[in-house]
């Protein structure tokens, strides 16, 4: 424990005293959140999103012209409650259930819902039973905040840990530590905890700071949010440790980290929702810890999901943390 604390303390000091890196780690996410909030403050969607429960084929039988109408996007759902919730929060403009007698749900406070209702009446869906839901809109900023913070955490975790360890290996510091009784797991675990503390603290500061100006939507428990964020960061740091476990080349480490970060950046749902994407794309996205972290934090913040509801994501994040850290410690090379 003494050795672990020694490494933890030394690494924390190194980070906190590196003023330029510290300021950058704080400023970058602030700039991203404010920049994107400003850029996407208007609603420029040109498609109407319609959820379908019961399958598109059934919908075609019920209202043949509807699926061929332009500028409508149909997204299949298996779970009716989840889909209704999306209409409630304006994440979807309408929901149609054709699994039994056709019904549709529309949010009375949604302008898109109002217009869409008139469109479907004109293409043969006027006989569908009307259901009404009510709920405030989730702004785009509320939707993308978990993605932006998640992305920032991903870079801080992967590159922050990966490059530091490669630098230590390259300049001989790890070789010096190898000559002491310090074990590889103690060293790696201290690196993980050090980075975890810093990332969670910085993310909390950014969240609170942005919240003062933007007033984010927060429906769920802060403790559940903290748990998911912490596990997500652990999983991402473990990937960074695994990538850096063997190499002494910053170029190689950079390339490997890019291979990991780019797919996560595009497919984890940070920038855009994968609803409606090809199923195989959604399956690939499920591999990434970032997908689970962003999905769970969005559910907690925007839909008030409980710990039990995000438990599948919690398990995935816990498991990936343990597996990546274990493999990283096993293949770790001091030199």
């Amino acid at each position: 424990m003494k050795k672990f604390l020694a490494v933890l303390h030394a690494r924390n000091m190194e980070f906190l005293r590196d003023r330029s890196a510290l300021v950058w780690n704080l400023a970058m996410p602030f700039m991203l959140v404010f920049g994107l909030a400003f850029t996407f403050s208007g609603d420029s969607k040109d498609l109407y999103k319609i959820g379908v429960v019961g399958g598109i084929e059934q919908l075609t039988q019920a209202a043949p012209k509807l699926p061929t109408t332009q500028h409508l996007q149909f997204i299949s759902y298996d779970d009716l409650d989840t889909a209704i919730n999306k209409v409630k929060h304006h994440q979807m403009d309408m929901l149609i259930d054709v699994s039994a007698a056709p019904k549709y749900w529309v949010n009375t406070s949604s302008p898109n819902g109002y217009l869409l209702e008139r469109i479907i009446w004109g293409v043969g869906a006027d006989k569908f039973e009307r259901q009404v839901v009510e709920g405030a809109e989730i702004r785009y900023v509320d939707w993308f905040l978990p993605g932006i913070l998640g992305m920032n955490m991903m870079f801080a975790c992967l590159f922050g840990v990966g490059f530091v360890i490669v630098r230590y290996r390259k300049n001989g510091f790890l070789k010096r530590l190898k000559a002491t009784p310090l074990g590889a797991f103690q060293f790696l675990f201290a690196q993980l905890i050090s980075r975890l503390l810093l990332v969670v603290v910085i993310t909390t500061i950014v969240y609170v700071g942005c919240d003062l100006f933007i007033d984010f939507n927060m429906q769920g428990s802060y403790w559940t949010l903290l748990l998911v964020t912490t596990l997500g960061a652990m999983s991402l740091i473990s990937i960074g440790l695994l990538v850096a476990a063997h190499t002494a080349s910053e170029e190689l480490a950079g390339g490997m980290l890019n291979i990991v970060t780019w797919p996560m950046m595009l497919l984890s749902g940070a920038w855009f929702s994968l609803e409606g994407a090809q199923p195989w794309v959604q399956h690939i996205a499920e591999i990434f810890p970032l997908t689970h972290m962003i999905s769970a934090t969005r559910s907690i913040m925007n839909e008030g999901a409980t710990l039990a509801q995000v438990m599948p994501d919690v398990w995935v994040l816990s498991l990936t943390s343990a597996v990546f850290l274990g493999i990283g410690a096993f293949v770790f090379k001091w030199e």
């Binding site: 303390h9 230590y168 510091f173």
Partner: protein
């Protein structure tokens, strides 16, 4: 004296290169042992196998009769030739950091005093001079009160004054009955500090013993140096083995009295004659066949 560390048939094979080719060493407790050799001789590979940093391809290293293990890590001190420290920490924080990595340590104040670090305790380690940095690295190697200390080219790059100060420090450490294994490029350093030396070449030990023993073994004679402008012509005509060496003529002889008499009989002016003793530098060139380059 008991051996504190032994190496038996140590071999290190890299693809296409046998860096170390069957080294046997037995280093007694309490001495300063010097490992010398030209670049590429295999001395760093050998010392890193002794340190437990690299595993030998074959052969074994034993510390106090046991294979290298956790106890070895606790009881050995190492100053690497090239090493970095954690950035943004002061000298004091760096010492405390390493202190906490060991079960038993010397009082930190004792190490600070021993290595003369008092004046630079609050200085960022990145801002130390070469000599200060080497003193800190030695302090880190001593923090666990090791019985065995490895110093890998500790004075490379230091100015002559800092180098001599470091020698005094090593002598002080040695006086505490510590065993020191030293590699160095400086022959005068080896001569000043080492009780026993081994010279390596092409992965093997080519000569081993105390510096005096080795010099005696390899050089039974002395060298007479006479300025060439005084007697060059005459010396070359004499059957005395004189060879030009720059502006001098050198004569190697193991019959000093007889050679001097011959020179006087031939009217050679001996006013500027010098008798040069052989050094480790000469020994190094003699046994490795290479001129030593810094």
């Amino acid at each position: 004296m008991h051996a504190i560390i032994t190496a038996t048939d140590l071999v290190k094979q890299y693809p296409g290169v046998r860096a170390v080719d069957g080294i046997n060493l037995s280093i007694p407790q309490g001495i300063c042992f010097g490992l010398l050799g030209p670049n590429g001789a295999g001395k760093t590979t050998t010392i890193e196998m002794l340190e437990g940093i690299h595993q030998p391809t074959s052969g074994a290293v034993h510390y106090k009769g046991e294979p290298l293990g956790v106890r070895y890590r606790e009881e050995v001190g190492i100053q690497f030739q090239h090493t970095a420290l954690q950035d943004f920490l002061t000298v004091r924080e760096t010492l405390k950091f390493f202190e906490r990595l060991y079960t038993e340590t010397l009082p930190i104040d004792e190490v600070i005093e021993l290595c003369s670090l008092t004046d630079i305790l609050d200085r960022d380690t990145r801002k130390l001079s070469g000599g200060q940095r080497q003193r800190l690295l030695l302090a880190l190697a001593l923090i666990n009160d090791p019985d065995l200390i490895f110093l890998d080219e500790p004075t490379t790059g230091l100015d002559p004054q800092a180098r001599r100060n470091f020698w005094d420090l090593v002598k002080l450490v040695k006086s505490r009955n510590k065993t020191i294994v030293l590699t160095t490029h400086y022959m005068e350093e080896a001569y000043a500090l080492c009780d026993e030396i081994a010279i390596m070449d092409k992965g093997r030990i080519v000569s081993q013993g105390t510096p005096e023993q080795l010099l005696k073994e390899h050089f039974g004679d002395v060298v007479l140096q006479i300025p060439g402008d005084d007697a060059g012509g005459k010396l070359m005509q004499m059957d005395i083995g004189a060879v030009p060496a720059g502006e001098l003529f050198e004569i190697k002889t193991n019959r000093l009295h007889h050679t001097l008499q011959q020179l006087m009989d031939n009217g050679i002016n001996l006013d500027r004659l010098r008798i040069r003793a052989w050094t480790l530098e000469d020994l190094f060139i003699n046994v490795t066949g290479k001129e030593h380059k810094l």
